[in-house]
Structures are given as C-alpha cells and as structure tokens.
Symmetry: C2
Subunit: 339 residues, 2 copies
C-alpha cells in the first residue's frame, strides 16, 4: 500500500518527471496539470520518500541539536524554541542529550553525520579530542555549524550567546546597589566558559565599585542539586555573607535550601541572585531575582543563521551577542532590611 512517485504519475497520466517537477517546483508546465497532480498527491496522501531523495544528494531538511541535558529546564526550553522555529522553516530537529559525557557527544556527531543532517547546533562545550575529531569530519562535509551559549570556536561557525560577562556584572551591580558589601559567588565547572565569564563580569563590577575581591569569595560546586547544597552549606558554616550570586538558577535554589537548613533566611538574612530565569526561579520561595536569557530570541536567531547558511544565503560567519536582563523578584533586599 506504499505510494511512490510512480503511482502518482500513473494515476495522473503523466511521467514521474512531471510529478517530480511539481514536488520540487522546478521547470515549467501547464497550470492545469500541476494542479491535477497536486490534487492526486493530496488524495493519495503521498509523501516523497526522504531516503530516496537524500540518497541522491538532496537536503534532508533536518538539523541536529546537541545539548548537555534535556531534562534541565534551561535546555528544555531552548530546545523547545529551536524546534519551534526550525519547523517554521521546514526543518525537523534531531536532539541529542550528552549528559555532559564527551563520549556521548562524539557518538552524536557520528550519528548526525550518518543521518546526513543539513546543519548542526551545539550547546555543549565541544572539548574532547574524540569529539573534535568527529566534528572535523562533519566540517569536512561542509555541514554548517552553529554554536549556542558557548563561545569556543574550534571551527568557523555562527555563534549566538548572551553577554555572560555583562550578566555577571549587572547581577553584582544589583547587589551592590542594594548596599551589599559582603558578596559570595557560587559557580560550577570552570570548563564552562559561560560560567567563567559570569564570574568575570561579577569581579569587574566589584572592581568598578571599589569593592575588594578575594578568591575565598568563590564557592566551586558540582552539577547536581544535592552536591551543590552540600558544598554551599559547608561554606556557610565558616562564613555568612549578606548576599550570594549563583551562576545559574539551580545553584541559586541549592543556596536557598542550604541556607534555610541552617536557619538562615532568604532574603532577610541573605540575598540571592540566580541566572537563566528558568521555571525554577518562579517556583522557589522566595521567587528568585535572576538574570534572564532571551531564550526564545536565542533559539530564533540561531535557527535563522543556520538555515541561511544551509541554504547558501549567507557565506560569512557571524556572532550574535544578546543582552541578559535583570529580573528582580523577591530573593534580594537591602542589607539594612536584614536582621
């Protein structure tokens, strides 16, 4: 019961070439036959076989997206937007979640190459030799690349990020303006350039405002909420600042919980700022003051650039840096208001 282009041609009383032309909108033909063929295709629920056309070297109309973890709300939302815009452009999306495993990342590159995607969006920090090697192969195939969130460019590619440094800057500025002097920073893996930049921006803010900074003001933690709670809790035992800036909402949540566990109230005793403006920021108590990334816009821009590159409308690479935004909720108050 499979419909092929031959079936359509036969029922329309034309040759497959003619049908092919209406499918691809190429060549010229009488408007009448075109319409008739379209009607027949409709009637037969005919869909061209992707594999056959991909085999002859045409586009697959699919793009690959690699993120560290789909179950992380931030990436979940990003993926959703990418998918949304990609579909608007007629592309389907193949998602890969690496769980922060370079090995899995490398596997995805192979896989996506095998599936011959037309383009690739990466939101992971492609680091390992293995990954780089695999990526090289797909670069050799002239598959357009686009990088999201990260700013490393082992190969020429389009990039969309936010100004992480500025994000860190305005977050810290906000605390400074409220009157906080004793601020501590929570960050994760230093291989994440975005985290580093956020901290960098924070330090710049401190500097510009004439506030001193010591390495001891930084808490380095891990990815899991549990681990972070532990790490932050221990730190708080030794020193209790009036404010904490965490490089993402997950850490900020962990901070709130670690603090509360020790009888430290947020925001009364401790102000907290997060980063990403995920759902988490909305549901915690108190709702989190955080730095918002324009996820929808990021998704839109990166898809736009990638599709343009795929369709050859754009040959040079570019980099778009979007602005983060401070979202003030209730986790930050003036220190005077603190007990």
């Amino acid at each position: 019961m499979k419909k092929t282009i031959y079936d359509i041609a036969k029922h329309a009383g034309v040759s497959i070439a003619t049908v092919s032309r209406v499918i691809n909108n190429t060549g010229r033909m009488s408007d009448e036959t075109r319409k008739r063929i379209l009607r027949i295709m409709e009637e037969f629920d005919y869909l061209p076989n992707m594999h056959a056309s991909a085999l002859t070297g045409k586009k697959t109309n699919s793009i690959g997206v690699i993120v560290p973890d789909v179950s992380n709300p931030f990436f979940g939302e990003i993926v959703k937007f990418i998918q949304l815009f990609a579909e608007e452009q007629g592309y389907t999306v193949i998602i890969g979640s690496t769980d922060y495993h370079p090995e899995k990342e490398a596997n995805y590159f192979s896989l996506l190459k095998q599936k011959s995607v037309d383009g690739l969006i990466m939101a992971t920090s492609v680091d390992s030799d293995e990954s780089l090697e695999r990526l090289q192969e797909i670069v050799d195939d002239n598959v357009p690349l686009a990088m999201l969130t990260h700013d490393r460019m082992p190969f020429p590619m389009d990039v969309v990020t936010i100004d992480d440094s500025m994000g860190g800057y305005i977050a810290t500025n906000h605390l400074l303006e409220l009157g906080h002097k004793d601020i501590v920073f929570v960050t994760g893996s230093q291989t994440m350039t975005s985290f580093r930049d956020r901290i960098k921006g924070a330090r710049q803010s401190l500097e510009h405002n004439g506030v001193e900074f010591h390495e001891s003001q930084i808490i380095k933690s891990h990815f899991s909420i549990e681990g972070a709670k532990e790490d932050i809790g221990q730190y708080l035992e030794t020193h209790l600042p009036t404010a904490i800036f965490a490089v993402n909402d997950v850490f900020a949540c962990a901070t709130i919980q670690a603090a509360r566990k020790r009888g430290v109230k947020v925001p009364e005793d401790l102000s907290v700022v997060g980063f990403d403006n995920t759902v988490l920021a909305e549901v915690t108590d108190p709702p989190l003051t955080t730095i918002s990334q324009p996820k929808a816009d990021m998704g839109k821009q990166i898809v736009r650039m990638l599709v343009e590159a795929i369709e050859g409308k754009k040959t040079s690479k570019s980099k778009i840096i979007l602005s983060p935004e401070l979202i003030i909720r209730q986790s930050t108050v003036k220190p005077e208001a603190q007990v």
Copy 2:
C-alpha cells in the same frame, strides 16, 4: 571524500557483497577476511549510508517519541530516560513536542512516517480526528506503537502507565491519616485520563474513610502556572481547606504561591500534595510532599517493549502498570499543628 561500500571493498580486495555481509553480520566467511574488512572500515571511518539501507526496506534504527511539551520537567526527564535506554538498544530517538496542539501532533505523525521510524512512543492523548487518521496510516504500515502515561488505546499497542488511581488514593490517604477532613482537589483538563484517574482515586480514598465529597471540592484549572495561580487564588478567597491535593507538581506549586499571596502559610495553615515528583518538588519551599512516578523505570519498560515489538520478539500487546510512591517532604503536616 565520501566513503562508500565500494571503497571499502576495493581496498579490501573483495566484493561489496562481502563487505555488506560483515556490516550486517550475515552469511559466513573466513574470520580472517572479516577482520581485515573490519579493520579497513575502521581505518576509513566508514559509516554505512542509512538512507541507502533504509531505501531497501531495512530498519532505520530510529524511534519517534511524541510528548506534549519538552520544556515541562516531567516530560524532559521522561524523554531523557527514553533516549538513554533506546540508545543502549541501538536506536536513535526523534522527539516531537506538540505543545498540546492536535495539529502539530498530526504533523509529527506524518513526519515520522516519512522518516520511516521503526516504532513510535506517544505520551500525548491522541484525540483529534486528524491525528487518529494519520496514526491509522502508520498503523497500516505495521509500525509498532507504545503509549506512555495515557491509557487510551485507539489501536492495539503496548502501554506503560502508573496506577494513577492508586496515586490519587495514597495521596489522599496520606492527608486523611494526618487528620485532614477538609481537602480540596486541583486538576486540569479533564481530557487527560491520568488526571481523571487521580481524582477518582482520591474520591475512593475519601469514601473508604467515610469522608463525604462534593463537587465543590474540585478546582478545575489550566495548564499555565499563571492561570492556575489565579484560579486557585480565587477559590481560596471563598473557602480555605486544611489541605489540597493537586494532580501535578505544577499545580501544587501554583497552590503554594496562591496561598502565600493571601497570607496562608504552607504547611502551617495548609498542607499541599503534588504529583510527579519533578525537580519542582525539590526546590519549592516547603519541599513538596508528592507522588512519585518511576520515570526511569517507565522509560526503560516502554523502550524494552517497543524494541521487542520492532524486532519481532513479541507479538502480543501488553500493558504495564507501575506503582506510584508517596514521597513525604515538608508541605504536609497534621492539622493540629496548624494554627
């Protein structure tokens, strides 16, 4: 610089048929040549062209997964697990997020059919005529189907759900045991069979414990957190129960926030139970007592069943009902403890 099976054959000094055999592990041949060919494939980074093999009617080693919303933490986690197990079995996953649009759902069915996936997992309530029609087509192609979370079976297929009814039952029992009598229920779209069942279980618990139930104890709300907050808040103005059971964590979060906005403290003034045990339950304040769905297990089971069906190791359809579990955190206390 594309490697084809011909290149490998040439360099190995054999015919393509032989290479094809080692790729597919069919036929017999000298161990030596097999190894030699494998070595050459390795050396050349040769990957068989999927489209070519799919074209000849072989499996594509891919399965489609359709969920309502990837950015919802519950589905994000489910998808993650499905992907994990599917990859272990050698299948790649194509994810579709419908945003609760039947239209998008229908589109995904077409798309997945076109991509000739080997099987399909659905976590949406396939309702619309359009969807059903498209689904019919893929059923006609003998593509195995599996349904997750939902229990509607328009066609024969494997099913994995939790016992939603039991979930509602134990959640309500928990509240009853704590001594609550005045319990209100928050639910969403009634087309979601899972929500209905949870409420059904709750009513059974009430009944078994000789507590009366009135329709007025149910708050029907919408999907967005914002909308839910509004709806619940309004209800609370008219009547303040001692406990609320929400059919998912999102509603539970909304409940907590709506309550707090009106000066009602959780759990002191109001106990709250959620459902799903998503990250949200961990980060809210107070951490949410909720009903946990064994997401990893659900993902594992459904992938297992689907793969068995795909590989023909299983012809009959089955239904697996997993048990929900009560996770007691801090959003529920005895009413006596309440002010």
